[in-house]
Symmetry: D2
Subunit: 104 residues, 4 copies
């Protein structure tokens, strides 16, 4: 996935709509959390078993769209804050590994 390329698209998209004024990191974090809840909403009344087969249901496109929305706000926020998502993830996986030792 070419993050820089997506960031350029999202930046152009915001500029063309005069949305940059709204995209401060506080607002973007809120918007991201709202999208995350829209993903949660799809699953809220399902059993774990029904959740497992969500992509075989009429909600499959909806799931993809909500996941895309989350990623879009995250990538946009990373652009505004100059965060390198790829190295942030790599660092966090190392840190998680130190915190949670594997079973032996």
């Amino acid at each position: 996935m070419n993050i820089k390329n997506i960031q350029k698209q999202l930046s152009d998209f915001a500029d063309e709509r005069d949305w940059d004024q709204f995209h401060n990191p506080k607002n973007l974090a809120m918007a991201l959390s709202v999208e995350a809840s829209e993903l949660v909403e799809i699953f809220q009344w399902l059993t774990p078993e029904q959740a497992e087969s969500i992509m075989d249901s009429g909600e499959s496109e909806h799931v993809k769209e909500e996941m895309a929305d989350i990623m879009i706000y995250l990538i946009r926020m990373a652009d505004k804050l100059n965060v390198d998502l790829e190295s942030a993830i790599a660092d966090k996986i190392v840190k998680n590994g130190e915190k949670h030792q594997p079973n032996t």
Copy 2:
């Protein structure tokens, strides 16, 4: 960003800790939304101006870690649901463009 490679790391990580049993899409969506709120929490009492300069504050590493956690759960969920994040984003940007026409 090599999503497949990260998915392999996250899958191995979960297997080594016997966590796969917890990673149904309902639980992953919940965990993702919890991480999104941890990102929101950093900004909740800040003015928009303070939020803009968050990366010059003592919270910069914290911001990166919460963004990484969100991305980690999103990438993990995409793996479990066989969602191609890159094409999901591309599709959503097109759809957003149809919904929100540019200013002229």
Copy 3:
């Protein structure tokens, strides 16, 4: 506010629709957080000043409805878990007072 009376109404409401099966505490917590995000969504692109005057805007009824939804799920959850909300709040205010000393 008569919590017991509201709980009776909500319990009857759920029974009449055969919804009790969905109202386990995990699902109710999810639903509550989704409603909280619907409240956040109203404010996400507003300046703090615009937020202050939300009740003078066309969103005033929307705000009330989202606040009601949050309270409804919280009261329903308290019923299912036998939590006395009034004493839980009283205890938490004491605890918060110990954690955050007043300015002098």
Copy 4:
């Protein structure tokens, strides 16, 4: 539950700590959603059955505290916005009843 009385306590609490400046409705909505996610976090990896018996577990006080935090922010927000929570709930129950007809 005496909402007015709790609102007075919360208002005094905020004044004594010079917190009123942070309590605009946008920030309070964010804080409420963050507390809702802290409640969700308790349940995120549990089965529905484990969730049902949460009050018999070591998490029972934690659950009460998170529920109290949600209610505290909701009551505080209602104060700042002059929303009558009791009538908002009554109105919403009527509206929900019209939207979702009972089973027959």
